[in-house]
Symmetry: C2
Subunit: 127 residues, 2 copies
């Protein structure tokens, strides 16, 4: 067969999936978007993220941020003051992911009405 296979290797494939799943969870994209919004602030505090990413719980925000930190996508700056002050910021790597994700984000914004229309048609057809 021409162009052989796009399969790079089982291991690479597994890694791609692993990273993809990390990125593609319920909150990660929202948090990245919030940290990387072009006009938005660069360093963001925990509580501010909690407010901006509406609906997220403390637990999930913490977890999401830890995962992003582990993957080298955000840095966590702790100020030894009281009450605590912690600031999160996208790393260059995180920013590059934000840019890539931006394409999907834009697709959704551009096509959401079309998607909604299709859903309506589909649902109506079998009710």
């Amino acid at each position: 067969m021409e162009s052989v296979d796009r399969k790079p290797s089982a291991e690479t494939e597994a890694l791609v999936r692993e990273v993809l799943e990390r990125v593609a969870d319920k909150w990660t994209l929202l948090v990245i978007e919030e940290l990387g919004g072009e006009a938005g602030p660069r360093d963001v505090r925990f509580t501010r993220l909690l407010e901006r990413v509406g609906g997220i719980s403390q637990k999930m925000l913490t977890k999401t941020l830890r995962q992003l930190e582990r993957d080298g996508l955000v840095t966590r700056k702790v100020f030894p003051v009281v009450p605590p002050r912690v600031e999160y910021r996208l790393t260059p790597l995180g920013e590059s992911l934000g840019a890539a994700v931006c394409g999907v984000w834009e697709w959704v914004e551009r096509h959401k009405d079309e998607v909604r229309r299709h859903r309506g048609t589909y649902d109506a057809a079998r009710s």
Copy 2:
């Protein structure tokens, strides 16, 4: 421009999230990738997808395809033969999503080693 607020409205925001979550689940991206691979076949049968998207179960493949169909991203062509023959194909809308997703896919392939390295460092630092 300052682009003031990126917040379009609570309703739009909700829709974006809804579509985003649909797209960002465990299997959707894999299935789209399989249907939209540039060198890959256009019309794909159920069983073939089952083989190509390794690890997916019948149940989840069916569910994923139904969701994609509902959103107008794939068409489902049923041939009235026996044994059954069903072919799936990306719609133009689905292809445009595939293109957008491609950016993320490429990011992952390009940066997966870096991510893996960060993970190693992070894990080592607190073991």
